[in-house]
Amino acid sequence: MHKESDIRIPLILGDKSYRDITDDIIRPIEGKAPKGWYILITIFAIFGLWGIGCIVYLLGVGIGSWGLNKTVEWAWDITNFVWWVGIGHAGTLISAVLLLFRQKWRMAINRAAEAMTIFAVMMAGLFPLIHMGRLWVGYWVFPLPNQFGSLWVNFNSPLLWDVFAISTYFSVGLVFWYIGLIPDFATIRDRVTSPVAKRAYTVLSFGWSGNAKAWNRFEMVSLVLAGLATPLVFSVHSIVSFDFATSIIPGWHTTIFPPYFVAGAVFSGFAMVQTLMLILRKAFGLEAYLHVKHIEYMNIVIMTTGSIVGVAYITELFISWYSGVEYEAYAFWNRATGPYWWAYASMMTCNVLSPQFFWFKKLRTSLTFTFVLAIVVNTGMWFERFVIIVTSIHRDYLPSAWSYFHPTWVDIGVYIGTMGLFGVLYLLFARYFPVMPIAELKTILKSSGQNFKEGFGNGAGYYDEHGHGHAIISPEAAALLSTDKVSVKAEEENSKEMTSEEILATKNSLLERLGSATAEDKDNLKLISGVGVVLEGKLNEMGIFTFSQVSKMVIEDYNMLDSLTKSFPGRAERDDWAAQALKLMNDNNI
């Protein structure tokens, strides 16, 4: 299975070995935390504490401290709940759906995204719990015998479906995440030296040894859990949508809600992953594993799901007109032109229009733009839920009860508090847990590592043996590789063993024999089997531009070339570049 098309861009850049992967991912855990980490966690902790304070206050004085009123009895709380649950959809989607689709690029992000999922669902769960009022009897949401003080729960109610859906999602997500973490904890356990850390990771790694049977079971469990998690992801947000689709206003509903909520959740989840990963890769120096192509893939997902959401918005609008039912039409007319027009306008702009920028390759490969847009998308998705909930219910059946919602400081405080708590949890995760799946990354090194695909460094021997790739790299891949720092760094490392005088001398003697040429009469050296973009660049650097120069090469020249490029020992000779070049030269003349 180490076969991958040459036009695919390597997922792991630079010259990596298995050891390098371990080192790179564990480095942040082994080292001391940077100052920034302490600053950030303090800030988030302050926000988190503030949020907890607000919750305590709310429990003391009651739900009235929120801005709710008789008409708008659901507002920020449920909006925030759905917002967080939505964000919590990307993680499982990435690790489950993309696993089933065998998308290898998921491996750069799945661990961190799953952590995000779990923390986000925790934050989401807080809101309904607080909203139920008596937090200390929160367990009444589960089916308990009447002696506990409540009747049996009502299985007809979408809110109860939610209880089951969210708790199933949370616990299954947690198990899925942890099963994947165990081998990586074992890796850390076998490396760390401090006794406290050793003990901690020994406990966390559950005694994982990595024997063949365990791996066999591991793969099956991952696959089956992915298979279970995929419909689970769909069901959870569908069920969340049922909360609104069945019951937010009696007499109004729309059937497209379930799939469109799922698309919206994936949309916002990926945006959050972008926000977090862009920071993480920079802070931890993981650019080699999560590079522009990964970002681009995620942006394409954002663009696609954003467009699906857009189609759904427009479908709803159209059908409300098409139905010919006044109430149906009013519900939407009021959204767009009523007192909450600003929320509707923000939702449309952020969710439908803004992702369309990703049609331009320049924008979807720009890190800054991606970062900004990801935040815009998440803002838009918050507004979407706000529109669905508050705008739908603020016009009651009795015009005398029509009302408007104003958030109080407690509303805002709890929301900001959840962000703080989320941040704290996420920072702890980033500090003590491997942020990328070490074991899984190792499985794709040979098929998707740049060195193995192009045959240099650690991949050189492998390249020869398995006759991999001919380094015909697509123009976009070439552009990416030539601009990416990592690949440049790898090249620098390769050539630094020779002093510059030596290089110059070798180069001159080489050119003397082959004859000089300029960039103007450049031939497409990539046509020679064995020469790729990287190597062509190197040849050009040396002053070799034409087939006629290559055709004059003899064994000594090949060796000289090897000592200069360091990347393809023995390759030129075996592929007989000279003969190839001669043939190509003749073809050109005809």
Partner: protein, 178 residues
Amino acid sequence: MADKVIYAMYDDDDETKDAAQKMVDKGIHIADVFSPFPIHGIDPIIGIKETRLGIVSFMFAITGTMLAMITIRYMMFVDWNMNIGGKPNFAFLENMPSFIPIMFEFTVLCAAHGMAFTYFVRNGLFPGMPAHNPDPRTTDDRFVVEIRPEDNNQFSFEELSAFVKTTPIVEIEEKVIQ
């Protein structure tokens, strides 16, 4: 003799696989392979059967569906009938669409946790369990093939060790175990 074990260490997954194939061809029984990540295609070579965890999960899934149905039926129809929002609880089948979501969720819940639990039990994974990989580097970038002379009585210990050395090993360890 029976207490001895050979650990042959490699630094590449493909080489490990090829070496294992060579040993198996020679008739050597391989006790186990330790690796930092799953080596694709090694299971059939060293004679590991496909795990049946998938079936376990399916069984748990069916259990989950049944449990959910029984619970809902008992609570909504047998123990305490109610008419809520025009959805009277007198016939399970007629209210079925309402119950599908929970039946589904409970199915997934049971399947996932049942299988995960089985997985932990079968692999002996619990918090604080001691690891038994022969070398700490096998969770990093080393691959170890474990051969027990007791499984390979047709060869002498020296023969085994000599044959292992013909494969591209990076280290070999002969250890006495309790």
